[in-house]
């Protein structure tokens, strides 16, 4: 477990608060930047560098992973096979989830018969528990695929990866904190995991937003309430890096979630309890001190009653 401070911010594209967050941590020196979620646009970090006053150094995680693939074709092949296994595992999960989530939604839609409220309440709890069980099962299945891959291939010990890890450690030596930007959450997570970066970050504070915030948690939840196709059921994708506990970030919540729909909000909050489901919209901020979360004013969390309340409050 990473024991240092973690700050999660709202999306940064239109409302930049990153530099302010870094300054608030008392950091005035070099900042390591991870923009691997931007994939092949990883190096287009000019605006962020300017925003940080030119003191950031990009860890080039995407580029390093590409280099590993080129230098170690065996490992590259194994990574592709793992991706295929993961894809199929997710497809099977989605199939089961579509049914169990619909059952839970139906239970929440249903009105109780007067005098027999307890009956429906128990069925609702059972339906939500079934979704939680499925999520937990899926999480174990995906973790098993990753464990088997680690056991078979020990990527950290392979030359190409080890070389980059040594170089990353050296670059990080000069950095006082790490910023992790958003983008493609799985691309980001898998590349960070390939280089086993968390031990390299050490006790440096981490500031992350959007997919960066998601990848650093214990569980990565993909979500959108009104996609153009499909029923819009949030999916528990896999374990994250575990830099913090107790919180699930929902970036762009105003755009991606139907925040006025109390049933959907209640289902999300109950499904992922006891974690706090935090709505990370622009200008919001959650601070992890290694033990507790503190929400900046205006940062909201999804409550089990289906409403939004100030995050970090009891």
């Amino acid at each position: 477990m990473h024991s240092a401070r973690v700050v999660l911010l709202g999306p940064q594209r239109l409302h930049r608060t990153l530099n302010q967050a870094v300054e608030s941590l008392g950091i005035h020196g070099t900042v390591a930047a991870v923009t691997a979620g931007w994939e092949e646009r990883e190096d287009e970090d000019q605006e962020m560098r300017e925003h940080l006053g030119g003191r950031s150094v990009n860890l080039r995680i995407w580029e390093r992973a590409e280099d590993v693939m080129a230098r170690d074709p065996e490992l590259a092949r194994a990574l592709r096979e793992r991706s295929d296994r993961l894809r199929e595992q997710h497809e099977l999960y989605r199939l089961r989830l579509s049914h169990s989530i619909e059952a839970a939604r139906e239970m929440l839609r249903r009105e109780p018969t007067p005098g027999r409220e307890e009956m429906l309440a128990a069925e609702r709890a059972g339906a939500i528990e079934a979704v939680r069980d499925l999520d937990a099962f899926h999480l174990r299945r995906v973790a098993l695929i990753h464990r088997e891959f680690e056991a078979d291939w020990s990527p950290s010990e392979r030359d190409a990866v080890a070389d980059h890890r040594r170089d990353l450690a050296s670059v990080l030596d000069a950095c006082q904190c790490v910023c992790v930007a958003g983008g493609h959450v799985v691309a980001l997570l898998h590349r960070l995991r390939l280089f086993d970066v968390l031990p390299l970050f050490g006790a440096r504070p981490i500031v992350a937003w959007s997919a960066g915030a998601m990848a650093l948690g214990q569980r990565v939840v993909l979500f959108h309430d009104s996609p153009p196709q499909g029923q819009g059921a949030a999916e528990l994708h896999e374990e994250g890096l575990g830099a913090y506990t107790g919180l699930l970030p929902f970036p762009h919540a105003k755009k991606r979630l139907l925040l006025h729909d109390k049933r959907r909000i209640a289902l999300l909050a109950r499904r992922f309890a006891p974690d706090t489901c935090a709505a990370l919209d622009p200008l919001t901020r959650m601070d992890w001190d290694g033990a507790n979360w503190h929400g900046a004013p205006g940062t909201l969390r999804l409550h089990e009653d289906g409403i939004l309340v100030q995050a970090g409050a009891a």
Binding site: P11, G183, H184, L222, H224, P227, P228, H252
Partner: protein
């Protein structure tokens, strides 16, 4: 039409022109109340008719005159969520004029002009088709395609925002593409849907024909142009994925015929088809009654229906229920499904027009080319 509205119309008409003028001034027409749409016209004319393109209704519906006044009205029943394009035919003596509804500011344009539009209860112009200041705009560039079959053709190519040569993009070829941009907000919709991650960043070739009724009607030269000239030249000019699964072909009306016909002639080349209000006329027996321009279309569709093959892996088919083509499109769907193709079919309470085609773009494009919505959080 509600009794109250009729009474109001008649009462103000009886009070005289000034009272009527004042009453009309504060109102938006046509009036939509539930499923009833009431059209109103003022003028010293002999007849007023509603001219529309709703298959199933009489082509011209006469307005009623309020006795002793120059006020005319017509109420019709319209399903919720409908969108109707129309004109008014105003008759004075032997003079027949087709005009836009003077009391309705809502209009829709197409290559033939401008129509008045009324929206039934529940219809909403899709917000993803309107400019979004947060969406990064793509760019449209000019290109000339050299073709042995059709001669050199100027086309336009939509490049997504943050286009990079180091990436590989899917390709969609849109028949009447410039019209799609002009009349169906295609560029704005692409910008927005890409920004919202509902479709991937993609390259869209916007092709036009000056002889579309011939070239789009299963003309083998057109299919050759697409497969032998257009796509190879685009793949050498732009960083495209270059695989059937990342190639789409689409269009409306005869453009849909051209899409299906080319995909049928070159099976396995385009895996994704967007077919909107396709003019898929066919005959089970005897001749068709749609005129000689449809002869090659009917020949193609009859042949296709006998042996559909595998023109594409995935097809999005849409049609308006107010179109005469609805029968052809409806009967195409089970045929495609029997052939084992993955089909999504959508009907809308709309006609054969660009805004109908615009309104289906989100669903069609995101079905054929799903974006990274679930994976990307920027």
């Amino acid at each position: 039409m509600s009794a109250t509205l009729v009474q109001d119309i008649e009462r103000h008409a009886r009070l005289g022109p000034w009272a009527l003028e004042a009453w009309l001034a504060g109102r938006q027409f046509p009036v939509v109340e539930g499923r009833t749409v009431t059209f109103v016209f003022r003028g010293a004319v002999d007849e007023v008719k509603l001219r529309h393109w709703i298959h199933g209704l009489a082509t011209a519906l006469p307005f009623h005159n309020v006795p002793g006044s120059d006020l005319w009205f017509l109420a019709i029943d319209v399903p919720e969520g409908s969108r109707l394009e129309y004109k008014l035919e105003v008759v004075t003596g032997n003079d027949h004029r087709l005009i836009q509804d003077p009391l309705n500011p809502n209009v829709a344009s197409d290559p033939y002009g401008v129509n008045s539009v009324v929206h039934g209860t529940g219809y909403q112009e899709p917000e993803w088709s309107l400019p979004d200041p947060e969406a990064r705009p793509g760019e449209i560039v000019e290109q000339t395609i050299t073709s042995k079959s059709l001669g050199d053709r100027p086309i336009q190519v939509y490049l997504p925002a943050r286009f990079r040569r180091s990436r590989r993009y899917p390709l969609l070829v849109m028949h009447d593409g410039e019209d799609y941009v002009r009349y169906a907000s295609l560029k704005t919709s692409l910008d927005n849907l890409i920004h919202r991650l509902e479709i991937p960043s993609m390259v869209v070739a916007l092709i036009q024909s000056r002889d579309r009724l011939r070239e789009y009607a299963d003309d083998p030269r057109h299919a050759d142009f697409l497969v032998r000239d257009l796509v190879p030249q685009l793949e050498s000019s732009f960083p495209l994925v270059g695989k059937p699964s990342a190639r789409g072909l689409g269009g409306a009306s005869f453009g849909a015929v051209a899409s299906l016909a080319a995909a049928w002639r070159y099976q396995g080349f385009f895996d994704r088809l967007l077919l909107q209000s396709g003019s898929f006329a066919f005959t089970d027996i005897g001749p068709h009654d749609r005129g000689p321009v449809f002869d090659p279309v009917v020949r193609f569709v009859n042949g296709f229906r006998r042996n559909p093959g595998q023109p594409a892996a995935q097809l999005y088919v849409s049609c308006g229920v107010y179109e005469s083509l609805i029968y052809y499109n409806r009967s195409l769907v089970p045929l495609l499904e029997r052939a084992g193709l993955d089909v999504k079919y959508r009907e809308a309470y709309d006609g054969h027009n660009w805004e109908n085609w615009r309104d289906r773009l989100r669903e069609g494009l995101s079905w054929l080319f799903p974006g990274p919505l679930w994976m990307v959080y920027e």
